[in-house]
């Protein structure tokens, strides 16, 4: 799977990431936490999108529901917060199953549209149920266990959970299931013809994706101690898709890179101008035009082209 050289790289990166809170000021640690969890959110979106060929256009539903699930269990029940951290993603996965069963009968854009409709329904519900979900205001000041309540603690928690989740996603993509899923992306008819039950395999992708989106939402609760209805809104979903595209939706780490780019750009552009949406929009357009496979995709293409030339010279 990963070469020796690759493994060394990974360990080096992890080491650096572990040292970050000891070197950088609080703001940057917070930023990195946000990048990690949004990266997980985007990567979970890319499982059905880039690797399954499914028009997963409203992924924020699972992210937000996971976050709300965790927040509500913490604030409204006596259960241990650690249990809450597990329940949130599980609720998201359950919602993924339900919505998946409803939507999977359709394909391509129709799937995406039905998902957006269902997701809007969920959003409207959460938005209006003031007494339970806090409605428009959301929920603030959610208490988390002391060990992860500091900004460094939250960061390490996010790092560990994201790292583990990424590892699981990687194993899934390299497994026979992962290859079959990519086959479905490339050619659903062919997949069916070699014996793959296309619908069921896609449904599993949706459930897994929803679980990890919910995990990302839970991480947000830990890092930011709040939830609000915008976490379920369609604009966040489209942002996630753009993160995947920006970084490279056919690569494993592309969405993580895309998330990092967007978080960084937004944060730093807003220090210069309040019109960061304009800048973001222009950057999206440029990427769509010139780098349709995303940044990482472009890098990979370059690498492959050089390799091909080298191969041909032999």
């Amino acid at each position: 799977m990963v070469s020796k050289k690759g493994k060394i790289w990974w360990i080096a990166v992890l080491l650096v990431l572990c040292l970050v809170p000891l070197i950088l000021p609080r703001f940057y640690v917070y930023l990195l936490s946000v990048i990690l969890l949004f990266g997980l959110f985007a990567m979970s979106n890319n499982l059905p999108l880039g690797f399954g060929g499914i028009y997963q256009l409203h992924h924020a539903v699972f992210y937000g529901v996971g976050a709300y699930g965790t927040a509500l269990v913490i604030t409204k029940s006596d259960l241990s917060p650690w249990l809450a951290f597990l329940i949130g993603p599980l609720i998201a996965a359950a919602l993924g199953l339900i919505m998946g069963l409803i939507c999977i009968r359709l394909s391509k854009l129709y799937f995406g549209m039905l998902q957006i409709s269902l997701g809007s329904l969920v959003w409207a519900f959460v938005y209006r149920w003031y007494s339970f979900t806090g409605g428009d205001d959301g929920i603030h000041g959610i208490t988390v266990p002391d060990i992860i309540s500091s900004y460094q603690g939250a960061y390490y928690f996010a790092l560990i959970i994201t790292g583990l989740s990424l590892y699981v996603l990687y194993r899934v993509l390299k497994s026979p299931y992962g290859i079959a899923l990519q086959g479905i992306r490339d050619n659903p008819v062919r997949s069916a013809m070699i014996g793959v039950n296309v619908r069921r395999h896609q449904l599993l992708a949706l459930i897994i994706a929803a679980f990890f989106a919910g995990t990302a939402g839970t991480l947000f609760v830990v890092v930011d101690n709040t939830v609000f209805p915008d976490m379920i809104f369609w604009t966040l979903s489209l942002e996630a898709v753009i993160m995947c595209l920006l970084g490279g939706w056919l690569t494993f780490l592309g969405p993580m890179l895309g998330a990092a780019m967007i978080v960084v750009i937004r944060t730093f552009v807003s220090t210069y101008t309040v019109y960061w949406a304009l800048v973001l929009g222009i950057i999206f357009m440029l990427v769509i035009f010139f780098l349709p496979n995303g940044v990482l995709g472009w890098v990979e293409d370059l690498y492959k082209r050089r390799k091909n030339v080298a191969d041909m010279k032999e």
């Binding site: 194993r171 290859i179 013809m193 014996g195």
Partner: protein, 249 residues
């Protein structure tokens, strides 16, 4: 082994398949021929479950398989290649073949084991047999057309089928590629006892390879018989030559 009885399929009033009959005996090679638009591919789609017939039946080894979804048809050990090359473009030749084998073994629900460790020998063996071993790490979207058609056949074979359906296997191939393909098909029957159903436009190939021929015109079966019977049939001559007293070829 395979029986098709009075199969019908319309699209918005257009009768694509209009009372088609077919029977293929075990170990035979049967060809379906007919003018363009006669409904050959639609017939294959109906048999393999990609389309559901309006009426009629498809029986395989005595079992009614009419209207079953494609993945279930595959489990009955019926495999198929497509007229327009249908492979997994972004995956390598190796992965294309491997996933077909893994699917046969129902390993596609395995989310844990790295696929690079599974079915490697069998995949390589199959690739050697069809002559694609050297290109196994190439992305299949980058192969030549002929190679991709061979890959398709390899994927169909990976399912360890008893019955193989080939939709215009030599379409778009150069003469050398065509010869290779024909030798491959005939070799398959001899070595593995496969029953083969295919459709073609190249009459030379049809008459050389097929045991029996079924002729389709405008969605209906005109005749099914041996090469000789078909050559001298009036209906066939009408369809192809607009009526003539001379036996074809």
């Amino acid at each position: 082994m395979l029986e098709v009885k009075s199969l019908m399929k319309s699209f918005d009033g257009f009768k694509a398949v209009d009372n088609a009959d077919l029977d293929v005996r075990k170990g035979e090679i049967v060809a379906v021929i007919g003018p363009n638009g006669a409904g050959k591919t639609t017939l294959f789609n109906l048999i393999t479950g990609i389309l559901k017939p309006d009426s009629g039946r498809v029986l395989f080894k005595g079992e009614d398989i009419t209207g079953l979804p494609p993945h279930k048809i595959c489990r009955k050990r019926i495999s198929r290649s497509f007229q327009v090359v249908n492979v997994f473009n972004r995956l390598t030749v190796f992965e294309n073949t491997q996933i077909s084998i893994l699917s046969r073994e129902r390993h596609t629900w395995n989310l844990v084991t790295p696929s690079s460790k599974l079915a490697v020998d069998e995949t390589n063996e199959l690739l050697r047999r069809v002559g694609l071993y050297e290109k196994r790490n190439r992305v299949s979207g980058a192969l030549s057309h002929g190679d991709r058609k061979v890959l398709e056949i390899a994927m169909a074979l990976a399912g360890n089928p008893e019955f193989l359906i080939l939709d215009e296997p030599t379409a778009g191939m150069s003469p050398e590629e065509t010869t290779r393909c024909i030798d491959l098909i005939q070799g398959l029957r001899e070595r593995y006892g496969l029953t083969i159903l295919f459709c073609e436009h190249d009459m030379e190939i049809v008459f050389r390879v097929a045991n029996r021929i079924m002729v389709m015109v405008r969605g209906a079966t005109i005749i099914q018989g041996t090469c000789q019977e078909v050559r001298c049939n009036a209906g066939v001559q009408d369809a192809y030559l607009g009526g003539s007293d001379v036996c074809l070829m």
